[in-house]
Symmetry: C2
Subunit: 286 residues, 2 copies
């Protein structure tokens, strides 16, 4: 199958590697406004050719939009205007506004709204990795608004990426994504800033950084280009979770103020339940 | 050298493995109130024998206290009472109260206050790992309060563990530890609780958890037995950092409330600087 990928970044590039290797794609076309990204993607063999958007649409059966959320919302209607029989899918981390923005588009049913829940903190074609999606969840939202053949094609694509399909409404997706992904990023960005501010006056503070710190600030390396639009478009849900998160932090502070070790212990034991839940969910996804 | 390790947990067990393997220890004695931990440590070969505390002190040249912070504060004076020529060191994550608690002990100079900055979220003798400390920082605090021979012995021990030695005052250690370790744990515990509370009503939320979430909640698996005493004993510093952290989270919320993507982008770019700092500090430690 001839597939175009718009956006030669971490996600688009990683999809390219496995779709080609697993023979789901026979010919891969890359599109990227960023000339360096486009040229690099071709040079390191992620795609077979680089085209303009209209040419890519004409030449493909499946078009994958793998660009930031704001660019996806902007480009999707224009892209659907160009589409005839082709299938269009996206990968972005917000779904409600995106689905609303094309609700009445005459080609809506050629579009399958999707979110493969995988990634790293790195970006650009150089960050592309084989096996990035293996065993992870891919969410398809508002599946009933897509034509059955379009839906089936995207499902087959995610099966080729060894992903587990989960179906839900786009507004539900955005709530869940706020809890299991977006808040993690804010938590990590804020932690990095807190420690960097301190470090202005304490040059050697990072000599002490251990593996635990590395793990909680890993996501703080993620790009603003990707994350600002996500926070902006999912602001209501993210603010709700942020309030709940700040409440929990305040509970810890209160326990410390009162030197209440029983309360601290109780909260930590409650948090420890995450072990059971995470291993259960990993099992389910196998 | 004959070495006793009090506490057959992750840290004590991991030290045992490498000190034996690298021939720094000729004979290793384990002490643990928890009979299961003691028996397990012997059975899986972490130590050569299990003793009572007074017997262990009598038989050793070096005694390593590898128990939680509250137990360390409680046991250290009693342990120093038993000591003659031997050297005692600890591994716990708070230093100011501990050093104050033995400030006037007649055997203070046989004690070297230390904090090897390494670990995982797991605990017990089963969690012990070879190479856990390689390349990480070990902090020795208030070194001038230790006898030169005691200090030199502990320095040689950390060199055998391939750790980079850093020296500072105990109160400075506690401030730095609050920034690069303690706040990461609170951030992670609070995040886990926030998401678990939501999950009470949304059974399948964890189907969506991706690698990013796993990374930020990894530390939430850490034990209350270890962490409650650390938060209690370093409460002032941790609360200061927690306030700064909550401020940063509030800035993100304000930016979302105002739909101010420029501000979000600015904050994320500021957070991204953590990349440079972390790689620099890793370099320094090599």
């Amino acid at each position: 199958m001839r597939i175009s990928i718009i956006g030669m970044g971490l996600i688009g590039g990683s999809m390219a590697i496995d779709l080609k290797k697993r023979k789901f794609a026979s010919h891969l076309i890359g599109v990227d406004q960023n000339v360096l990204h486009a040229e690099t993607a071709l040079k390191i063999g992620l795609v077979d050719e680089i085209c303009t958007l209209p040419e890519a649409v004409r030449k493909s059966e499946l078009i994958i939009l793998a660009i930031p959320a704001n660019a996806t919302i902007q480009l999707l209607p224009e892209l659907l205007d160009l589409v005839d029989h082709q299938v269009v899918t996206d990968v972005c981390s917000i779904k409600k506004h995106l689905c609303e923005s094309v609700k009445n588009h005459p080609k809506r049913e050629r579009f399958v709204a999707a979110h493969p829940m995988a990634g790293t903190e790195n970006s650009g074609p150089w960050a592309a990795l084989p096996g990035l999606f293996d065993g992870k969840a891919a969410i398809i939202t508002d599946a009933h608004d897509s034509a059955p053949d379009a839906l089936e094609l995207v499902e087959r694509m995610y099966e080729a990426l060894y992903m587990k399909l989960v179906f839900m409404a786009s507004d539900q997706h955005d709530i869940h994504a706020a809890y299991v992904s977006h808040i993690s990023h804010i938590s990590s960005f804020a932690l990095a800033i807190t420690v960097l501010e301190k470090e202005k006056n304490e040059k050697n503070i990072f000599n002490l950084a251990s593996g635990g710190f590395d793990s909680t600030v890993r996501l703080a390396k993620s790009s603003a280009e990707m994350w600002s639009p996500i926070f902006a478009q999912n602001a209501d849900n993210v603010m709700t979770v942020l309030d709940a998160y700040i409440d929990q932090l305040q509970h810890f502070k209160q326990a410390m103020l009162k030197n209440d070790m029983n309360k601290m212990t109780e909260m930590i034991i409650q948090a420890n339940r995450i072990k059971k839940v995470l291993s259960t969910s990993n099992e389910k996804l196998k």
